[in-house]
């Protein structure tokens, strides 16, 4: 049974590989970009969802101290996901012939709308899949009266996941109404449901990693979810500025979606507190690396970059340019991609060897740094390319690729490929590592005593324990750069840019804001992890038995 869940996570990662393979062709523009892109989006969503499903099914029984309900259904779900994914990849290429499979007013084969490109056949099968998931999860959980906050988070999460999906399942003839409902799926998924699942999973993983009690994280999970929903519900209006819906949405969208980062700041703060609740060394470093990365990028990619373009006055410029995918990648892969990878790093060793930290963690660390710097670089390249694009296309009104846009944007297009390559290598490392975890440990473990890696010196300087004040300062720094980026987008409204066509101010602000933000982020994560790693050394110095060394025996 447990193997199966593990398989699930692996399928997710296999898809990740496939996803990464797409990107070079994507940019070469050889075979129709739209087909490659829709596959890129769909596989991206599917592997993250598979990761969620795998993680929920893994933690569900632990959380409830019950057996997983109806294992055969999960087995079925697994094959259904594989089949429906293949189906979807196959049908997307029909767009090149312009065949959507119209029948009874619905596109059955492929739908040609960004993010919900799958046709009705796909939609229905996915709906059934979600229904199975709900059934299994709710049956695995105890009676509602005994639910703790994490039960609530995951339970509401899977049900809402299913309900929201329904809004993408009918054809809408009007463009404004179509976009209105399309964002129900896209926005309410990522900024409503997925964030709730994210908070709950981070909560339970923190419980498992740091052995704190569910009660301690429970209230954080509760407030996090409440804030997400309070801000995200009306926050959807930030997608209704220009799609043909009335102007009043600009007010509501700007106001409420500006509050959306609040739960993220809260979550960010909490992971700091939880990680510092005690000073035990990390048993499973990669898992924590990924979870920290996820929470930090949720803050930076979703919270800060989302904030910069969530006001009608900034969004009018960023909308429909490369500024958007900078946020999209950092938020989607950063928050949810890294989380499910973290969950996999926790679950896989547990499933294979029944012990949390008992494996060679070097590859995992390497993989983390590769994907982490890759995704940050990718966002930087998109963001700076987008800044140039806003000027050329919106201020000057030129959209001719080879004649007007490419000469200025080429550098950034090359950078996207370069960082994409780093990310892909990182993904390769992670997939290899996770697939071979159980086996390779036998050989390498003995030769690698964890503390030897880090010189046993008292933690000072870069690796001294992180204080609350210092963490707060880092966070402030990120937000300051975030405001600079916001001013960059606002500055396009000034006459000097808009009428006189002088790009200096926005270019300078973007040139400071984005690199500053991303550098601060990198340094902060480095700093945070250095302080965590230092605990191992500390533990080695102190007379207390070192759990990492004790765990080093390695039993099957």
């Amino acid at each position: 049974m447990l193997m199966l869940i593990l398989f699930f996570v692996q399928v997710g990662l296999g898809l990740l590989l496939a996803l990464q393979h797409n990107d070079p062709t994507l940019l070469a523009g050889t075979l129709n970009f739209n087909v490659v892109r829709s596959t890129h989006l769909n596989l991206g969503l599917i592997w993250i969802l598979s990761g969620f499903i795998g993680s929920i099914l893994y933690v569900g029984p632990l959380l409830s101290k019950r057996e997983l309900a109806s294992p055969w259904l999960i087995k079925f779900l697994f094959y259904a996901v594989v089949a429906v994914t293949l189906w979807n990849v196959g049908t997307q290429s029909l767009a090149m012939q312009g065949s959507a499979g119209w029948w009874a007013g619905q596109p059955w084969l492929q739908e040609g709308l960004e993010y919900i490109e799958g046709g009705r056949v796909f939609d229905v099968i996915v709906l059934i899949g979600f229904a199975i998931l709900c059934y299994v999860v709710l049956r695995t959980f105890p009676k509602v009266r005994e639910w703790n906050e994490i039960h609530w988070g995951l339970g509401l999460g899977v049900v809402a996941l299913t309900v929201v999906w329904l809004f993408g399942m009918f054809y809408v003839p009007r463009v404004d109404l179509q976009e209105y409902f399309r964002w129900f799926v896209v926005h309410y998924w990522v900024e409503g449901v997925w964030e709730v699942i994210h908070i709950s999973l981070v909560g339970i993983l923190i419980v498992l990693l740091f052995k704190v009690s569910v009660k301690e994280v429970g209230y954080a999970v509760f407030w996090g979810i409440l804030l997400v929903w309070l801000s995200g519900l009306l926050g959807n209006a930030h997608h209704y500025f220009w799609v043909g819906t009335p102007e009043f949405w600009q007010f509501w969208g700007s106001l409420f979606s500006a509050l959306e980062p609040l739960p993220m700041i809260f979550c960010f703060w909490h992971i700091y507190l939880d990680a510092h609740a005690n000073r035990k060394p990390l048993e499973n470093a990669p898992a924590f690396y990924f979870i920290l990365g996820s929470v930090v990028l949720e803050q930076v990619g979703a919270g800060i970059l989302g904030f910069t373009m969530t006001f009608a006055l900034t969004n009018v410029w960023s909308h429909g340019t490369w500024v958007t995918p900078a946020h999209g990648h950092l938020a989607l892969f950063g928050t949810f991609g890294l989380l499910v990878l973290g969950a996999a790093y926790y679950a896989v060793p547990m499933l294979r060897r029944g012990k949390p930290g008992d494996f060679d963690q070097r590859l995992g660390r390497l993989g983390f740094w590769l994907v982490f710097s890759g995704i940050i670089g990718l966002a930087l390249a998109f963001a700076l390319g987008g800044t140039v694009q806003v000027y050329i296309s919106r201020i000057l009104g030129f959209e001719w690729l080879s004649g007007d846009l490419m000469p200025s944007m080429n550098l950034y297009k090359v950078l996207v490929v370069s960082f994409g390559f780093v990310l892909t290598v990182g993904a390769g490392v992670i997939v290899y590592d996770l697939c071979t975890l159980g086996r390779q440990t036998e050989r390498t473990k003995a030769t690698e005593p964890a503390p030897a890696q880090i010189p046993a010196r008292p933690a000072t300087g870069w690796s001294r324990p992180l204080t609350g004040f210092e963490a707060g300062t880092w966070l402030m720094g990120m937000w300051i750069f975030g405001f600079i980026v916001t001013f960059n987008l606002l500055s396009y409204n000034l006459d000097i840019v808009r009428v006189h066509g002088d790009p200096t101010l926005p270019y300078v602000l973007a040139g400071i804001g984005y690199p500053g933000l991303f550098l601060t982020t990198l340094l902060f994560v480095w700093r945070f992890l250095a302080s965590m790693e230092a605990r191992v050394a500390e533990a080695a110095l102190s007379p207390a038995p070192n759990p990492a060394a004790v765990g080093g025996g390695g039993r099957a």
Binding site: M96, L233, V243, W317, E399, D404, H500, G501
Partner: protein, 305 residues
């Protein structure tokens, strides 16, 4: 609290789609005999949205399409869409303007008036006409292009609250200068402008070289090359490679030998005989638009391929 916000959301949503708002709906818009409601389905079937944005949502490879009908007009779009791999030349746009429905929809019937009304089409023709684009050719079925134009007419009519923002940086020349600098800007604008001017359509024998060179030149300026490859690739129309003297299977049975008479007919009345595998009505009739000398030059050129 959550309930209150849900209520606000629902009330606002209700207001958004009231008829009194006067937002256009696709069932109100037609282009000739084609409906925007059908066009939307074609738009989705070809998944334009994963290369382009529409109301700003979608992919960022090609430009946003929401207001393209208003900016470029139906004749330019009708010239561009079927053979998107090449930017339309002035002659190609003129050919489309001969179509009654298109001229009626554009509200003008001369190219000068058209440029006046759609300055962006003028910019495209003069700077880009005859050059390759980065959009691949999609092989549309009969009628689909007109349906797509109806759809783009609908989105152009939509009230999108001022998005995309109006360009306020002045004349084309000034904007080009801002982008490319003075020298490059003027250099880019002039030669392209003169080469695509359809001098070819008026002066028959002009230019040096024999009939073959003139034919090759004409294939560019008249826009034939947008649809007919010379390397054997099947794009919008049949390739010209090795076509002379070959036998083409026709729609509705029968074959035709490609000789002078067949080529002449195919240029003047392309829909009299349509090659199997190609939708009828894709190629516009050139009757009254090209001279006999020009046709002879083209034939001379085709024979060499």
């Amino acid at each position: 609290m959550l309930g209150l916000m849900m209520l606000v959301f629902i009330v606002l949503s209700g207001f958004s789609f009231l008829g009194s708002r006067n937002q256009v709906t696709p069932d109100e818009i037609t282009f000739g005999t084609h409906y925007a409601t059908d066009g939307k389905k074609i738009f989705q079937a070809y998944n334009c949205m994963d290369c382009h944005t529409i109301v700003g949502n979608g992919a960022y490879l090609g430009p946003d399409l929401t207001k393209k009908y208003a900016a470029l007009g139906p004749a330019w779009l009708a010239a561009f869409l079927p053979s998107a791999n090449m930017w339309p030349t002035e002659f190609a746009v003129q050919t489309q303007l001969k179509d009654k429905d298109i001229a009626a929809d554009a509200g003008v019937d001369t190219i000068e008036a058209y440029y006046e009304k759609y300055p962006e089409a003028k910019e495209r023709v003069q700077r880009r006409g005859g050059k390759p684009t980065y959009m691949p050719t999609l092989r549309f079925r009969a009628g689909e292009v007109s349906q797509l134009i109806a759809f783009l007419k609908y989105t152009s009519a939509m009230n999108t609250e001022g998005w995309p923002p109006k360009v306020m940086t002045g004349s084309l020349e000034h904007r080009l200068e801002l982008l490319h600098g003075r020298v490059a800007g003027s250099a880019a604008a002039t030669p392209a402008g003169s080469s695509s001017a359809p001098g070819a359509a008026t002066s028959a024998g002009g230019g040096a070289g024999g009939a073959v060179e003139r034919g090759a030149q004409l294939a560019q300026t008249l826009g034939c090359a947008a649809c007919h490859s010379t390397d054997g690739k099947k794009i919008t129309g049949p390739t010209w490679k090795g076509i002379y003297g070959s036998h083409e299977k026709l729609v509705g049975g029968g074959t035709a030998t490609v000789d002078d008479a067949y080529i002449i007919e195919s240029i003047l009345k392309p829909n009299a005989k349509v090659v199997e595998g190609y939708p009828e009505g894709t190629m516009p009739p050139y009757e009254g638009l090209v001279t006999d000398e020009q046709i002879q030059d083209l034939i001379a050129y085709i024979k060499t391929l």
